[in-house]
């Protein structure tokens, strides 16, 4: 029997974690053991896990620093709001409407990624950090004065006010400047989990292919990668655009879980929060991203009842996550446990 490589094993572990998470919470929900706060947190958790995974593709695998990941989430969120509203009458099935919204949101965020990536990724140095930081702020400010409405004639845009949209009777204002988007809640936990599994599938397959090897080779040694005939800009762009598209999809999933979403939700703090998930989970470590993003998204909510100790517990968990995912000794321990298992199983094989 062909032995599974460690990486392949980890990929399956990651799928397993996600599926286990889904099953546990589905059971809790169906048996009525899930508080309504927790229920409300399920889709945000999934969205932030996707955000962390996709940012890890840029930061961990491609080795570039992006400080505006929430910008792509924002593009996806507001695209999703407009698309899903515009399709309300045309496509009554909410699952289909959600899927179409997510796809278009991902495409729009991907296009934003291309527009930023092409000029910036050709440069050497940390320009991407600066430009993505600016992008996040610009997107927020543009959305702050964007008004979008939908009526029977189609979609209307304005940068002034809702009045300028000139909607017909029965028309709806979808995006109302700083007030954000008013949305029909159509996201579902199940759809979110499917999206998350797809994102994991794409990232993990990408990493273990010629394209992923090229991306990581460029990260490890740009000059040697060029000397091996690799087109550096192309592969940095591939990683960046895929990541942006995934963030767009996450943004759409997130937005369509709420009645309203304001542009300021996706500001610099959110970008940094996602970066914190990635760093705490371990740069380049997908399992770590999943766990860190899930824990740290849900924790502040869970701790509301312990007002006084909330920040203390949050800090302790931060430290624990960091130790568990980045500490060499603990990793070694986990590895040695893994080895023991392997020896046992290979012993069985031999017998």
């Amino acid at each position: 029997m062909k032995k599974l490589s460690k990486d392949t094993l980890m990929s399956f572990v990651n799928y397993g974690i996600v599926i286990l998470f889904y099953i546990v919470f589905q059971i809790l929900a169906s048996t009525g053991n899930l508080s309504s706060t927790m229920k409300g947190q399920l889709i945000p958790i999934v969205s932030y896990v996707i955000m962390a995974l996709s940012l890890n593709l840029v930061v961990g695998i491609s080795g570039e620093l992006s400080l505006g990941h929430a910008g792509f989430m924002s593009v996806g969120a507001f695209t999703g709001a407009v698309v899903s509203t515009a399709l309300t009458d045309g496509i009554p099935n909410t699952v289909v409407r959600l899927l179409i919204s997510i796809v278009i949101a991902a495409v729009m965020a991907g296009i934003a990624g291309i527009l930023i990536g092409i000029p910036v990724l050709r440069l050497r140095g940390d320009y991407l950090a600066i430009v993505t930081l600016a992008f996040g702020e610009i997107i927020k400010n543009v959305l702050n004065c964007l008004y979008v409405g939908v009526d029977r004639r189609g979609i209307h845009f304005s940068m002034n006010s809702t009045g300028a949209l000139d909607l017909q009777e029965g028309g709806k204002v979808v995006i109302n400047g700083p007030m954000g988007a008013s949305i029909m809640k159509i996201s579902s936990f199940t759809c979110g989990i499917v999206l998350l599994l797809l994102v994991l599938f794409v990232i993990q397959n990408l990493i273990k292919s010629r394209h992923g090897r090229a991306i990581m080779a460029i990260r490890d040694n740009r000059i040697a990668a060029e000397a091996c005939g690799l087109n550096v800009t192309k592969y940095k762009l591939i990683a960046f655009v895929i990541s942006a598209a995934m963030a767009g999809a996450a943004g759409c999933l997130y937005a369509l879980n709420f009645a309203t979403v304001a542009p300021k939700k996706f500001d610099f703090n959110t970008s940094i929060l996602v970066l914190v998930f990635v760093v705490l989970g371990g740069i380049g470590n997908m399992t770590g991203s999943i766990i860190a993003a899930a824990l740290l998204t849900v924790l502040p909510e869970l701790l509301r009842q312990f007002q006084d100790y909330r920040m203390l517990i949050y800090a302790i968990v931060l430290v624990l996550v960091m130790i568990a995912t980045n500490n060499e000794k603990i990793r070694g321990l986990i590895k040695s446990i893994g080895k023991k298992n392997k020896q046992e199983s290979s012993g069985k094989e031999a017998a």
């Binding site: 010629r210 040694n221 000397a227």
Partner: protein, 319 residues
Amino acid sequence: MSNQKETRYVDVPGPGRIPERDKGRGPVLECTHLGIEFGGLKAVEEFNIAVGATEIGGLIGPNGAGKTTVFNLLTKVYQPTHGVILLDGKDTHGMSTAQVNQAGIARTFQNIRLFDKLSVEDNVKVGMHNNVKYHLPSSVFRLPKFWQEEKRAHESALELLDIFGMADLADVKASSLPYGAQRRLEIVRALATKPKLLLLDEPAAGMNPSETEELMNNIRKIRDTFGIAVLLIEHDMNLVMGICENIIVLNFGKVIAKGTPEEIQNDPVVIEAYLGSQADETGSEGFAASAAKEAQKKKAEKEKAHMSEVEEASVDVEE
């Protein structure tokens, strides 16, 4: 000292001569008036050579002579300020490092540049990147083309590693290899790009005599099995005189001598350049390789750390 029969050379039009056996194919590399200036410093000037299609050439000279700079010019890490580089008769003007590699020049680095976090096998597979052919959708969705090509890549990566007996190290992380093995892996990775010309920058640095001996045999084996040209920079005179058919000596950026090992060993200008600074080490007869080696090694050791830093820094500046 030279343990091989002398190669017979023929003159070709252009900057030099190539082995008679390569006459039919013409030179794989021709440089004419090649040079580069950093600010006012002429790091390399008037570099003229021809390399035959299956020739093993050597580039020697004291530290700081401009040898690595020549490699950086050939691979377009630096854009030349003067001269022409013809690869298989085609001008490489305006090409990027990646394009030059695709056109047929592969190299190793004096200060090792592996993909540290990748496995040995993946390092080789990155070298094979342009010869493994499937598109992004095949990667992401694991289409049949992916499996076919990856299987082929895996097999040829192991085959290439086997040249240096490294197939059993395939799963090891590149950065955890011992020094000598890292140098060998760089050669394998370069070979994986299917070059016509292989540039080796101090391949024996840090190797013990038996490793060096094995390396010599392997360089010859590579030339013979793949039918490619090799140009190498090396301070180990046993290696240079043992396998190079043609040697170019650089000093202060200029070519001060060219010729067969025999010719170089007896060239007074070369002896002067190499041994001039070590006045107390006279008494060596001819091109006393051992003396030169000792002196050079001492100097190299002292300067190695410094030089690689300089190279690293200067390359970064160039970026």
